[in-house]
């Protein structure tokens, strides 16, 4: 419970950032934190609540990003409609991957590796065709205006990101309190037992990955509207996939505010590393890696575990992974 109160307080504080902070840099900083928090939440739906570790969440992010960019640039679709379609595409791709992968009962490391491979396949395909920008990537024309989903005032983007994080938290809350969520968590704890209880394993997992895909695609859409550029390496490369699982696991898997805590702490650590180590190329990231390992060493249950007396994710009955 403590973790939830802390999360709610943090959310409330974050809402005040654009109004209390004058600095554009810190606005950018917190904007990225919120964006990655929501990306982490999308991973958390599948990985934290569903126990299916994806190494390829960049796939869904990239579908969202390239989907909206291609629709806008190649077909002149309005930015909002393009975004909505791209999110739907993320859901469809999520569902399709899920149907294929879960039907063949891939789990654990196998599931992780197959998602990684799907993201790589997408990366290669996207960079192979002119229609998808080939090697150049996609550039959405700069045309500031509410109608184009390009806001002059970055605070608007900030508020959108904040709303996304709130929606993400509500999705997590729903998972914790709904029948679907209960089924999903049952699958996570023990697939055989869940099946014995009459839970449709494939259907449950496919629903989770569809939801997760749509959420990650939303981040892709958001990214493109912000930076107006995406290329196949940025979108489908391993960096995004790692970011998604990192914030989630560090924050506390299968918890409502875990990804938010994770994103805040990891990005704060990254910034601190930069300040401490100065301008030597690489040293700041090495230091960041060290802090990451120390965090794992001393916060075995993620940040949420630190805040609550009960360890995150593990329920008392399941001592065996």
């Amino acid at each position: 419970m403590t973790a939830k109160i802390a999360g709610a307080v943090l959310l409330a504080l974050l809402f005040c950032v654009p109004f209390a902070v004058q600095s554009e840099f810190w606005l950018s900083f917190w904007l990225l934190v919120l964006m990655y928090a929501f990306l982490g939440q999308s991973w958390n739906v599948l990985g934290g609540y569903g126990g299916q570790f994806s190494f390829g969440h960049a796939l869904f992010f990239g579908i969202g990003a390239f989907g909206t960019a291609i629709l806008q640039v190649r077909h002149g679709v309005n930015a909002y409609a393009a975004g909505a379609i791209a999110i739907a595409l993320g859901a469809i791709v999520g569902g399709a991957v899920g149907l294929l992968v879960f039907r063949y009962r891939l789990r654990g490391a196998y599931f992780a590796l197959v998602t990684l491979a799907f993201a790589e396949v997408a990366r290669i395909l996207i960079s192979s065709f002119d229609y998808t920008g080939s090697g150049f990537g996609m550039l959405v024309p700069l045309a500031r205006g509410v109608a184009n989903f390009q806001f002059e005032d970055r605070r608007v983007f900030y508020v959108i990101a904040w709303v996304l994080v709130v929606i993400g938290a509500l999705v997590a809350w729903w998972l914790e309190n709904s029948r679907f969520g209960a089924r999903l968590m049952a699958v996570r704890e023990n697939e055989d037992a869940a099946q014995a209880l009459g839970i449709d394993l494939i259907r449950t997992k496919v629903c989770a990955i569809t939801l997760s895909g749509a959420m990650a695609a939303t981040v892709g859409v958001f990214y493109v509207q912000n930076f107006l550029f995406v290329d196949s390496h940025l979108a489908f490369g391993p960096a995004m996939s790692i970011e998604a699982l990192l914030v989630s696991i560090i924050g506390g898997m299968g918890t409502m505010f875990g990804p938010l805590f994770g994103a805040v702490v990891l990005h704060a650590l990254g910034e601190a590393a930069k300040q401490i180590t100065g301008n030597a190329p690489g040293l700041n990231l090495a230091f960041y890696g060290l802090l990451l390992i120390l965090a794992l060493r001393f916060l075995p249950n993620g940040i949420t575990g630190l805040l609550s007396r009960h360890p995150a994710r593990r329920s008392p009955e399941s001592t065996h992974a």
């Binding site: 490391a109 491979a117 790589e120 190329p281 690489g282 090495a286 890696g289 794992l296 075995p300």
Partner: protein, 291 residues
């Protein structure tokens, strides 16, 4: 496409020699996976580190990379043992997701320390034999690649013998199969884990020594091989030695022919498509026996 079939045989031979390196890199990974059940994200970074070590042994001490095998294999064994015993194991608290993140953290540290210490300058060594070739009439096979091929085979045979015939090997197999049972019969599981990680890391060091004469080193170089190493492991069946070896050679050939007939960019696709198909339809790998 105007590809003539006269290129077929040279391309296959080239694939085999490249594949031997993939196999050697994958051997370490598959051993670590088979015993510890972890996907070691730091594998590519350790390869990079070993390439730098071989590079500096050559440029600073004049030690040929093929001789450096004798130094780097034991050195990286110790490094691997230490990493598992004193970093990964205490940090992961026995959880898979944490192990994953620890190896990820290690990769970030190693990569960026290398960048800081050695800069991102591309480094290569220029041995006297770098441009020697064996002329087969229909193809030139570079001497370093032939050495790498037989080196990889020899190292794989050595590892296989180690796992099959020694007490340590028996202990490793016991732990891989039934961890708790192994503990009950008095096997020190933590020690076996660390030995396994050490051997896996040593294999990477050997691969680096064979790779360096025909390749280059930068702090990013590991990523060129990580995904193909994962693919090799999966294709061969996670944890299977013979599998990794055969799969490495097979992948080398597929990549080479795919590159030839589909273009190098799309040829990469062949590797991942195989990867996905194997995971879906034969997750025990082509050669794996484990159910």
């Amino acid at each position: 496409m105007m590809v003539n079939f006269s290129l077929l045989l040279p391309a296959v031979l080239n694939g085999v020699t490249t594949g031997a390196i993939y196999a050697l890199i994958a051997l370490g990974l598959t051993l670590i996976y088979g015993v510890l059940h972890i996907i070691n994200f730091a594998h590519g970074s350790l390869l990079m580190l070993a390439l730098y070590a071989a590079f500096f042994l050559y440029t600073l001490a004049g030690i040929d990379p093929y001789v450096a095998v004798l130094i780097l294999v034991p050195a990286f064994f110790v490094l691997g043992y230490g990493l598992q015993r004193f970093v990964i194991q205490p940090t992961s608290h026995g959880r898979d997701e944490n192990i994953l993140l620890v190896t990820l953290g290690l990769a970030i540290i190693i990569d960026n320390l290398a960048l800081w210490l050695w800069t991102s300058t591309t480094r290569t060594i220029d041995t006297s034999y770098a441009f020697e070739v064996i002329d087969l009439g229909f193809a030139f096979i570079p001497l370093p690649k032939i050495i790498a091929f037989f080196g990889a085979l020899a190292f794989a045979a050595l590892l296989w013998a180690l796992i099959t015939f020694t007490d340590l090997g028996r202990a490793i197999r016991a732990v891989a199969r039934e961890r708790d049972g192994a503990r009950l019969v008095g096997i020190r599981v933590e020690h076996v884990y660390a030995m396994t990680f050490g051997i896996g890391t040593a294999a990477v060091a050997a691969a680096a020594c064979f790779l360096l004469p025909t390749f280059y080193v930068t702090p990013q170089v590991g990523y060129a091989f990580v995904l193909v190493a994962f693919t090799t492991v999966v294709l061969g069946g996670m944890g299977s030695f013979v599998g990794a070896l055969s799969a490495g050679l097979l992948l080398g050939i597929v990549e080479s022919l795919g590159g030839l007939y589909l273009g190098e960019s799309l040829g990469q696709l062949g590797i991942f498509v195989i990867f996905i198909l194997i995971l879906l339809f034969r997750p025990m790998g082509l050669f794996g026996a484990r159910a």
